[in-house]
Symmetry: C2
Subunit: 275 residues, 2 copies
């Protein structure tokens, strides 16, 4: 009897979750309300964990958590889309507390590193920030577009960027403010293009990010890899006498290629890969 | 009644696990019997998951799974010991199927990469392998010594190495055999010292690893970092006309520093850090 009742409750819970998914009802849970308001609007209802996106991800084939680790440690490269069966795993990772927790460890390391620096305070010390999935989050877009399981759609993604509504990543904001407070100048280096400058600046400002030294966007007609573009720009900074004390991005192409910066930080991003 | 019986069973299971831990009883479970015999002798009974090493690790402080990700993505550096509260998490990770699953994704990527190579077959193509935690596993030692939570003890660790009993890591063995079959020569480059050559060769042979091109151990009196040592040796190989088509290790210091090799692979190791 007790067992029958328990099964009924489980079944009711499942039905409830499935309906929420189909109807795209968005409702914050009690636990998520504790997270900064900045990320609260990102909450979406997802398929229940008992579906294809269990704790360990797929049954059979590549386990989704091992795949994500492979991506983060730069073993899995040049992938075009998240494995279809990992949509649930990646969705729960990004929308639940896991992504935030993993990001916090990265930022805590960065803050501890800053505390060890003997800064000259001469204004030449800079920190390079990527923008997408490093400073601003495009999760509201990806949550509606399969969490990276669908091929990149430049049209719809650029339409989202032009809304200028991307929320700041709260852990990165913590790093940003710390750097300003100790006199290290933030420098944005992004794969966004020059024509997106105005909306990008407006988006950053609206999220409480300001006071950067410069914002470098990709110029029209640039051909070459992300590594070539970004390391080339860092070289120019170094040649101009700047000291890159830190460099943070969500892609390995943000932080590979000399000069990398005195110390690099890789934020999690299991949604897309830029080589 | 059903609930009371269930609680009794849970309590019995917990008591059973605790006793097994204290008595150091080693017994393979049904699931683990399915894994290669090579790793079966490594099974140890651990504290039950309800203790300090839950699925996500510690309550309060740094979450153990996020800490491990930070280590693997090279955000967490220069650490001396695993956080004490993560002993349970790391122990379960290493002894359960998780470590193996994560390693398999790395090796699957390496095998897929090899299939894309156009090999010349001129005998100059090599693959650099680290030994400890890359080819041979010291898990039998670490399982008895706190899974990296205790400071490195050179005396007891070297005594373990001199037993020559370290099991091969089955995923790496798969890569090793594939390379031999396609004519790429394995080259061992290890932080083990020259005086450990005989036992290292014997240990590798006893585990079915043979046919390597060369085995380079650290020479007496070498001063310098692991990165300086290993990249210096790779430079010598390149200067001698060898092409390093791949390089695999468990430490970032195995794979950083030019020339890195055409492609690098980072196996998991949440137990120790070599800078």
């Amino acid at each position: 009897m007790a067992m029958a009742r328990m099964l009924l409750l489980v079944a009711m819970a499942l039905v409830g979750s499935c309906s929420a998914w189909e109807l795209k009802i968005q409702m914050p849970t009690k636990r998520l309300q504790a997270i900064d308001e900045a990320v609260a609007p990102l909450i979406h209802a997802l398929r229940p964990l008992l579906g294809s996106g269990g704790e360990l991800g797929s049954r059979g084939g590549v386990p989704c958590d091992s795949w994500v680790l492979g991506v983060e440690a730069h073993n899995v490269r040049d992938w075009k889309t998240v494995p279809a069966k990992c949509e649930g795993y990646v969705g729960h990772y990004m929308l639940g507390n896991h992504y935030r927790r993993d990001s916090k460890v990265v930022i805590d390391e960065a803050l501890a590193y800053i505390d060890t620096l003997k800064l000259s305070g001469n204004g030449k010390e800079i920190w390079v920030f990527d923008i997408d999935e490093t400073t601003l989050s495009n999760l509201p877009y990806y949550a509606k577009n399969g969490f990276g399981t669908r091929p990149y759609n430049a049209t719809s993604f650029n339409a989202y960027v032009l809304e200028g509504s991307a929320p700041v990543l709260p852990e990165t904001k913590r790093l940003y403010k710390k750097l300003l407070s100790v006199g290290v100048k933030p420098f944005f280096l992004t794969g966004r293009t020059e024509d997106q400058r105005a909306i990008t600046v407006a988006n950053l400002h609206s999220q409480g990010i300001s006071g950067w030294m410069d914002l470098k966007l990709k110029q029209p007609g640039f051909k070459g890899s992300a590594v070539a573009y970004k390391s080339g720009e860092r070289q120019k900074l170094q040649d101009a006498g700047y000291i890159i004390v830190g460099n943070i991005g969500d892609q390995w192409s943000d932080i590979l290629g000399a000069p990398e910066g005195a110390r690099t930080f890789k934020l999690p991003d299991p949604i897309y890969y830029i080589g």
